[in-house]
């Protein structure tokens, strides 16, 4: 955890006072709905379909057990007893009362938390690899860089009223587990041949209604220049990003309209004025931020543990869980563990207060009192001893968080959808549930192997459907819910050689009840055509193209034509 100093704490406290005053003036009729809206969104407060929704920031997904217990307490006191972990690594509450939100923020501030800039046209929570600091392929600890950007982006006087929201992702390892190519700005740490740390800077990526893969504006930006360079990007965007149409206001549209090369020139021209100025980072600041992070006091352990090996050999259920939900660690004798929030029948990402408290107890006992929220809406215990894995598994299983499906088909990313969100065209949670029910055979799931299935209830794409290997999008047709299917999306270069890509729609949409059948046909098509178990669904789509998958669902071109004729005749 990053531990606030006096100034960090004071700013968060002052924010509470500011929002309390704004809420007071709104309730007294001194602020219009429209004016208050812009202010409350900056504190994570939405007015939703059924009630307000409060989005609490979990900076880069890192959480202490003290904070989790406070979140549980708040959820119990101000809400209906459960919260929702979002794909932006935040926690959302669905029923707080507007007039009590300042009190909630005050309680959050006591554990160094807030809801600052979790919505509105400003910098959003910075996201990163959920294995930051423990991954074997680490280049830098991305948490440190996320915190530097968090500070820079908090209450930025010049960039608090951007044309639209702005999302940073930072990846500090060789594998991209932060989806840097689909963010407004993505930063991927690299080292040059002298061993100096820098960042490959991508700009203009994003999902939503105009999905785009970011372009590399700079192959190597030395770390000292990080803040001046992003300041230059933001100044160009703040001045020239479109403000006439909310759907064309993201930086990806500016990049597209200017052309990447022209955009780069403008940024460079601006940067020439800022480069080497006072915002240039210094080693002392990096060291200071690093030193304010608490670090686990790891024991010196052997690389293997006999008891653990024995359990693995004798307990098949444990072995299955280990295969999917336990991940390698850079320290010998330790592993990272995923607690799956994707149990069939439970909305993805939802947890009750009782579960939060039990998870906090487990994290205290097994993982140095810290945990992470992943953008796949699971929780991570990053520092578990191998010798403890079997007993942790038993406890996690009792809580219902041991579904051994991480990376598998049922580990679906899913937005809250039409059950909760006023923007949604269609429900998404029941679709996830129907797919999970259809694929309930674990052996079959393991045979299918790694695949991302992502569901969004509308084109705002909170469920990241464009980068699902299979993406499902809820659409509205004359007041009815229909679902479009995409294949071929990929969130980033998790495996070497397969970079980020956007999915393509395979054809006309389906009724909700048909979706599991469609997924099944796509999976059968994949299984029939893969070279070996090593070749994943996404690899096959890229090797043979989408056509065979289309055929598996809609039939071949002749069959499709006949089907269309039939539809026209009956219409």
């Amino acid at each position: 955890m990053y531990i606030y100093d006096e100034i960090d704490q004071k700013l968060v406290d002052e924010r509470v006072v500011q929002f309390r005053d704004q809420t007071r003036r709104f309730l007294a009729g001194k602020l219009s709905e429209d004016e208050f809206r812009a202010l409350r969104l900056r504190n994570g407060l939405y007015i939703q379909r059924y009630a307000p929704m409060l989005r609490i920031a979990i900076p880069y997904g890192l959480l202490s057990t003290k904070q989790l217990r406070k979140l549980a307490q708040i959820t119990r006191k101000y809400d209906r007893g459960y919260g929702h972990f979002s794909t932006r690594q935040n926690l959302q509450l669905n029923w707080p009362k507007i007039e009590r939100v300042p009190d909630i923020l005050a309680e959050l501030a006591t554990v160094q938390m807030h809801a600052i800039q979790t919505s509105g046209n400003s910098f959003r929570n910075i996201t990163t690899d959920h294995f930051a600091g423990v991954a074997r392929d680490e280049i830098v600890d991305s948490f440190v860089w996320c915190e530097i950007i968090r500070q820079w982006s908090t209450f930025h006087p010049e960039f608090s009223y951007l044309p639209r929201k702005f999302k940073f992702a930072v990846n500090g390892a060789r594998s991209d587990r932060a989806a840097v190519a689909v963010h407004d700005v993505g930063l991927h740490a690299v080292k040059d041949d002298k061993g100096e740390v820098g960042f490959r800077v991508l700009v203009g990526g994003g999902l939503g209604r105009t999905p785009a893969i970011g372009f590399v504006i700079r192959e190597f930006l030395p770390w000292r220049h990080l803040l001046t360079y992003i300041e230059a990007i933001l100044r160009v965007y703040n001045r020239y990003g479109r403000r006439d149409n909310i759907h064309k206001a993201r930086i990806k549209i500016l990049v597209k309209e200017r052309g990447p090369e022209k955009f780069r020139e403008e940024v460079d021209a601006e940067w020439a004025h800022l480069k080497d100025g006072p915002a240039t980072l210094i080693p002392e600041e990096i060291a200071r931020i690093e030193s304010r992070f608490t670090r686990p006091s790891y024991l010196r352990l052997p690389a293997t543990d006999a008891g653990f090996e024995a359990e693995l050999a004798s307990d098949l259920a444990f072995a299955n869980w280990h295969k999917r939900n336990v991940h390698p660690h850079k320290k010998a004798g330790y592993a990272a563990v995923t607690l799956s929030l994707k149990k069939t029948g439970v909305p993805p990402g939802d947890v009750t207060v009782e579960q939060m408290e039990k998870i906090a107890d487990l994290a205290d006992r097994y993982s140095f009192g810290e945990l992470r929220v992943s953008h796949e809406q699971n929780l991570i215990f990053a520092d578990v001893q191998l010798a403890d894995l079997h007993s942790l598994w038993q406890e996690v299983r009792a809580l219902g968080f041991a579904t051994p499906n991480v990376g598998l088909l049922t580990n679906i990313i899913c937005c809250p959808g039409g059950d909760f969100c006023s923007l949604a065209n269609a429900k998404s949670i029941p679709v996830a549930e129907a797919i999970q029910q259809r694929f309930d055979d674990l052996d079959y799931l393991h045979d299918i192997g790694e695949i991302d299935v992502n569901i969004s209830g509308c084109m705002n794409a909170c469920g990241h459907h464009h980068v699902g290997h299979i993406g499902i999008l809820g659409v509205d047709k004359n007041g009815e819910e229909w679902y479009q299917i995409e294949v071929g999306g990929n969130q980033g270069e998790i495996r070497p050689g397969r970079g980020a890509s956007l999915g393509k729609v395979i054809g006309p949409s389906f009724a909700r009840a048909e979706v599991p059948d469609v997924i099944e046909k796509l999976i059968e098509c994949y299984l029939a055509r893969r070279d070996s178990e090593v070749e994943r669904f996404i690899d096959v789509v890229h090797r043979i193209g989408a056509e065979p998958f289309k055929e598996s669902v809609y039939g071949n071109a002749d069959q499709r034509a006949a089907h269309r004729r039939g539809q026209l005749a009956s219409a």
């Binding site: 004016e35 820079w152 006087p157 803040l227 703040n238 001045r239």
Partner: protein, 174 residues
């Protein structure tokens, strides 16, 4: 008439803001008095109006979709430059203000005009504005309290050119 806050005090305003007509036609420039003219008018009649600028009775206002670049060499001559906020959520004026102060070295009165609201004054001041023509419905007395909202900030700004991380180091704080 909007209330003017200047250097954190409510003050009387002698300046008259000249706006374009409904069809975009340029306003008449009265022969006397302190006037703020649109950027395009200034650019069209620069030679003729230069003497009034030198006399300290003519300022210019920049709209959000314009930039300080067009003023370039003249910036430091003006007694007053105003920047328009067509809508409170339009943040372009913050960048324009910083450029005027930091890049073009403008030292005169920098005034925020248009949809200028209580909750926006703090960041505006950080970006270099020292005068605020509040929207008419705003409570100016109440708005005076807003400048103390945050006791510090992480970034560089016109009021705090040295970022917090360098000042922390200087103060020997942990």
């Amino acid at each position: 008439m909007a209330t003017l806050i200047k250097e954190r005090r409510i003050v009387a305003d002698s300046w008259h803001l000249l706006e374009r007509g409904p069809k975009g036609e340029m306003p008449e420039v009265p022969a006397r008095g302190d006037v703020i003219v649109p950027l395009a008018l200034w650019l069209a009649r620069r030679e003729e109006l230069l003497a009034r600028v030198e006399a300290g009775t003519l300022g210019v206002w920049i709209d959000a979709n314009e930039g300080p670049e067009a003023l370039a060499a003249d910036v430091q001559r003006f007694p007053l430059i105003a920047v328009n906020f067509p809508k409170f959520g339009d943040g372009r004026g913050y960048s324009i203000a910083r450029l005027l102060r930091e890049r073009y070295g403008f030292k005169g009165e920098l005034r925020a005009i248009g949809d200028v609201l209580h909750d926006h004054l703090f960041f505006m001041e950080q970006c270099g504005f020292d005068a605020f023509a509040l929207r008419e419905d705003q409570d100016a007395q109440e708005a005076l309290s807003v400048f103390g909202t945050f006791s510090d900030g992480y970034q560089t700004s016109v009021l705090r050119p040295v970022p917090l991380f360098r000042r922390r180091l200087g103060a020997g704080k942990s």
